[in-house]
């Protein structure tokens, strides 16, 4: 209340002090026309859906507000609450409910995460120009250059026949942020299947496409900030569930008579050190898969798409490192700001993140940084990412753009529909619903063939010889 009064006071004072009260020093970066290019992370996708509440606080919207002091002029393809999830069925005119953002329905012995009933509709579909936030959930580097229809691009590119890059550049931007490439590797991690050309973009083709994009933006005369891609094992979707079987009643790891913890059974036998059980495996686990019959399970192994093996994780990490080397070089070659999101996520996974004595972490549900899909950030997470961009932009362009005020993201309130009370349990026996998993995979650009399991079950050898 006291805060509100002060804000009101400050506002009226600012109005008294005349028109240009909010002149922000952006250094040699010019935010007159700012365009954000990217994927779901740039679109403000959270809890497996694109929804108004999160879009208005997408990191590009926050950067624009901080860099210009204005709240209008940055147009986004807003979708009314409860948003639209990535589910294919939700793209139709009469989708079956529910299609909204994921919510935590209950904790307790069997905590469940399910889509919110209902479906949002586009609120800004008739804007007579391209959006400033052109990011399209699910897009890869190549799709940013080439895709014109399908999935979320239908409500963002609006069937104009022009790509994300073409529409963004048609606005003659003075500044562009580019965070693309997540879906060139993340889909492999989240689907548990790492196959070059299917879920992993070949490095050479990544390089060619990325260089083309940066070249086009540079030629158009815009200054840039570009962001690296996080390590796949730094997200809760990958690192939440232990490879050992946990008794959901006690929260304790189940041990054999000699005291050793018992691992889940994966597609290649008992899980080994370095293997990850994905959050999407919870449905199978609840059906007894991956659990020996002696422990009351079905004895069937977890499916390939529920497990990210150590070898797969290492392979994806290799690709991500190669992509990040390309991004880093492109940034230094073009004199752009480099926003090292990979370093940020790694730091959080190791040390957590602290604000005013509050500890955030990459823990699922109680870490505060990742939303209910285990991949995309919470509103707080996006605000923190906006500040990471702003720091890098200030460093490179010599400006003094103020950081986003984290207070409302720390304390809320978020919409009441999210805060529905239920019972709870901290332990990791989540039921991540099949719908939730499907929606997430779609948003990450994972092809239907991979989702349907119509790719080789085991990654092909790397083919060195």
């Amino acid at each position: 209340m006291q805060r509100l009064k002060i804000l009101t006071g400050a506002l009226s004072l600012a109005l008294l002090l005349a028109g240009s009260a909010f002149a922000v020093d952006t250094g040699s970066a010019n935010f007159t026309t700012y365009v954000a290019l990217g994927d779901s992370l740039t679109a403000g996708y959270s809890s497996s859906a694109l929804a108004h509440t999160y879009q208005v606080n997408s990191y590009p919207a926050l950067i624009y507000r901080q860099a210009t002091g204005k709240t209008t002029g940055f147009e986004q393809p807003l979708i009314s609450n409860p948003g639209i999830s990535g589910l294919a069925v939700c793209n139709g005119a009469n989708p079956p409910a529910p299609c909204g953002i994921l919510r935590l329905a209950a904790l307790g012995v069997s905590p469940t995460i399910v889509p919110t009933p209902g479906r949002g509709t586009p609120e800004n579909l008739t804007l007579p120009r391209p959006y400033n936030n052109m990011a399209i959930p699910g897009q890869t580097v190549h799709q940013l250059l080439t895709q014109t229809t399908g999935g979320f691009s239908d409500v963002i590119l609006r069937q104009t026949g022009f790509t994300q890059l073409q529409q963004g550049l048609s606005l003659k931007p003075t500044f562009v942020t580019l965070w693309i490439g997540n879906n060139d590797a993340l889909g492999a991690a989240v689907s548990g299947i790492a196959v070059e050309g299917v879920t992993l973009t070949p490095v050479e083709s990544f390089k060619a496409d990325y260089t083309t994009i940066v070249g086009a933006i540079t030629t158009a005369g815009a200054r840039m900030a570009m962001a690296t891609i996080p390590d796949v094992t730094s997200i809760p979707y990958v690192n939440t569930i232990s490879r050992f079987i946990v008794n959901p009643q006690t929260g304790q790891v189940v041990r054999d008579p000699s005291g050793n913890p018992i691992p889940f059974i994966g597609p290649n036998g008992p899980l080994q050190s370095g293997d990850f059980v994905l959050l999407g495996a919870t449905t199978e686990i609840s059906q007894g898969r991956g659990i020996p019959t002696a422990l009351g399970g079905s004895g069937l192994p977890l499916s390939d798409s529920s497990v990210l093996s150590a070898a797969e994780a290492a392979k994806i990490r290799d690709y991500v490192n190669s992509y990040n080397a390309i991004i880093t070089k492109a940034a230094s070659d073009s004199g752009s700001a480099l926003v090292d999101i990979n370093a940020l996520f790694k730091g959080i996974a190791t040390n957590g993140l602290h604000v005013g004595g509050i500890s955030y972490s990459s823990a699922f549900l109680t870490g505060g940084l990742f939303s209910y899909d285990g991949v995309h950030p919470t509103a707080f997470g996006y605000a923190y990412i906006a500040n990471t961009f702003i720091d890098a932009i200030n460093d490179t362009y010599g400006g003094d753009i103020p950081p986003v005020d984290l207070y409302p993201f720390v304390f809320g309130p978020l919409p009441k529909s999210l805060a529905k009370a239920a019972s709870g349990d901290e332990y990791l026996s989540f039921l991540f619903s099949p719908d939730a998993r499907l929606s997430l995979l779609k948003s990450l650009g994972v092809s239907q063939a991979v989702i349907d399991g119509k790719v080789p079950h085991k990654p092909r050898p790397r083919g060195r010889h």
Binding site: Q2, R3, I6, L7, A10, L104, L107, G108, N351, L353, H354, V355, G356, G357, I358, S359, Y360, L365, T366, G367, G368, S371, T378, A379, F380, N387, P402, P403, V404, D405, L406, Y407, F409, V410, F411, G412, P413, L414, L418, A419, K420, A421, A422, S423, G424, D425, E426
Partner: protein, 429 residues
């Protein structure tokens, strides 16, 4: 036992808002306070036991002083900055009145050997934020208080008619209380909820040290003094208590109560290394009635590094150990005082002190926001009949802005602005 109790009663008065660099209280006698503490080379009333034990050598008759300093913070405000708690956020500390006392007895034994006993309150601190349940810094601190007082028996030896030394023992009694809230990410709202109020109470513990002083009264128009008080470590035993705060979700509350030791005594140990300090003073008799003293005072605050809070209650009655990083630096303060003898019965004093903060920018937090400060003093002494001294100090803290954070705490950025008034009153018998 009786004495111990009264000592404790005295010391409970001794907390104060921040008023001398760090949490030292240099106002231990109203005559000295009137001259901003520039008293090392005078040391000519019983408060010499604090300011310079060398002065004890020159005591010629039994003298007793009793007094206190009324410390009133007139302003202790905080204005937020981005990213947290953000511009437009503001908060206030409670404006507190505190009365750190001082009590001295000096007694000649022979013509050259003198004895003294002092009770001083050399350290003290209270920070208490208004509306602690809403204060944005409540996960760092809602209220902190520290009280310390010294029992200081001293011997003085007059080596030559104008050179004296003094040596004393310091027995420090101290207690500490820390309060903060404990945050948790509510998985339903994905925002921060308060789940408990943590109070840490460390009852009186004792530490030992010593002090020495030299005073050389060269002639009517010049004297110099040197005083040193040693570093003292106090090891505290105490109890913490985590009182559960409802998140508004009964099942979540139940779950948390199964995992955290709410509402029980949690034994803790902690320790504070109090700094040593040294003062050098030069006093000049400008005229028969006008005396000027200049002092430089050094405090070894680099002793104040980490405050480790160790929970010793085993697996069940404990929380994770924490460390409050401080990493303070040694600092100097500069003092100048003037004493004008108006008549045989009355003196008027003026003083000024510039006091540096020992606290690095990343350590400035709601627990203990310190700043450089200027102190302006005026005093009066009645030196015949009923003898008493009055000293008044207006202490203006420079604005202290922090834009640096310790990684373990994260940003709590903004500007602290503090002012205080100190009124010392000492009666001499």
């Amino acid at each position: 036992m009786g004495r111990a109790l009264s000592i404790v009663a005295l010391a409970t008065l001794a907390a104060g808002p921040l008023h001398a660099a760090g949490f030292s209280i240099f106002e231990q006698g109203s005559k000295a306070t009137g001259m901003a503490g520039a008293f090392t080379a005078q040391a000519d009333d019983p408060s010499l036991l604090f300011y310079n034990a060398g002065g004890l050598a020159f005591v010629e008759k039994t003298d007793v002083s009793v007094g206190a300093t009324w410390i009133r913070s007139t302003k202790a405000d905080f204005e937020g900055a981005g990213p947290f708690p953000g511009p437009g956020y503001s908060a206030k500390q409670e404006t507190l009145s505190e009365f750190p006392p001082h009590l001295y007895w000096v007694q000649p034994v022979t013509s050259n050997l003198k004895f003294g006993l002092g009770i001083e309150t050399p350290f003290g601190l209270t920070t208490s934020w208004e509306n602690p349940n809403q204060f944005a810094g409540r996960f760092l601190s809602t209220k902190a208080s520290l009280q310390a007082f010294d029992l200081n028996p001293t011997l003085g030896w007059r080596v030559t008619p104008n050179f004296g030394i003094g040596v004393g023992a310091l027995v420090r009694y101290s207690k500490v209380e820390l309060n903060r809230h404990v945050p948790f990410i509510n998985p339903f709202t994905q925002t921060v909820a308060d789940i408990g109020a943590l109070k840490l109470d460390a009852d009186y513990a004792t530490g030992y040290g010593f002090n020495v002083g030299l005073l050389h009264r060269l002639n009517e128009s010049f004297s110099w003094g040197l005083s040193y008080r040693s570093k003292i470590t106090v090891d505290y035993d105490g109890d913490a208590r985590l009182t559960q705060i409802s998140t508004g979700n009964a099942t979540l509350d139940t779950l948390l109560s199964r995992q955290l030791p709410f509402n029980t005594k949690l034994p803790v140990k902690t320790s504070i290394d109090y700094p040593d300090q040294a003062s050098l003073g030069l006093a000049f008799g400008l005229t028969r009635n006008l005396l000027l003293e200049t002092d430089v005072n050094w405090m070894g605050w680099s002793s104040f590094k980490d405050v480790n809070i160790d929970f010793t209650g085993g697996a069940t009655n404990a929380l994770p150990d924490t460390t409050l990083e401080q990493d303070w630096e040694d600092v100097y303060s500069y003092r100048v005082g003037l004493n004008w003898t108006v008549s045989p019965a009355s003196q008027i004093r003026l003083g000024y002190v510039y006091d540096q903060t020992p606290q690095p920018e990343e350590g400035v937090s709601p627990l203990l926001p310190d700043a450089d400060r200027n102190g302006f003093c005026i005093g009066y002494g009645h030196t015949q009949g009923f003898r008493y001294d009055v000293g008044l100090m207006y202490l203006d803290f420079k604005k202290r802005t922090t834009n640096k954070a310790r990684p373990s705490e994260g940003p709590f950025f903004g500007t602290y602005k503090t002012q205080a008034v100190l009124l010392g009153l000492t009666a001499n018998f």
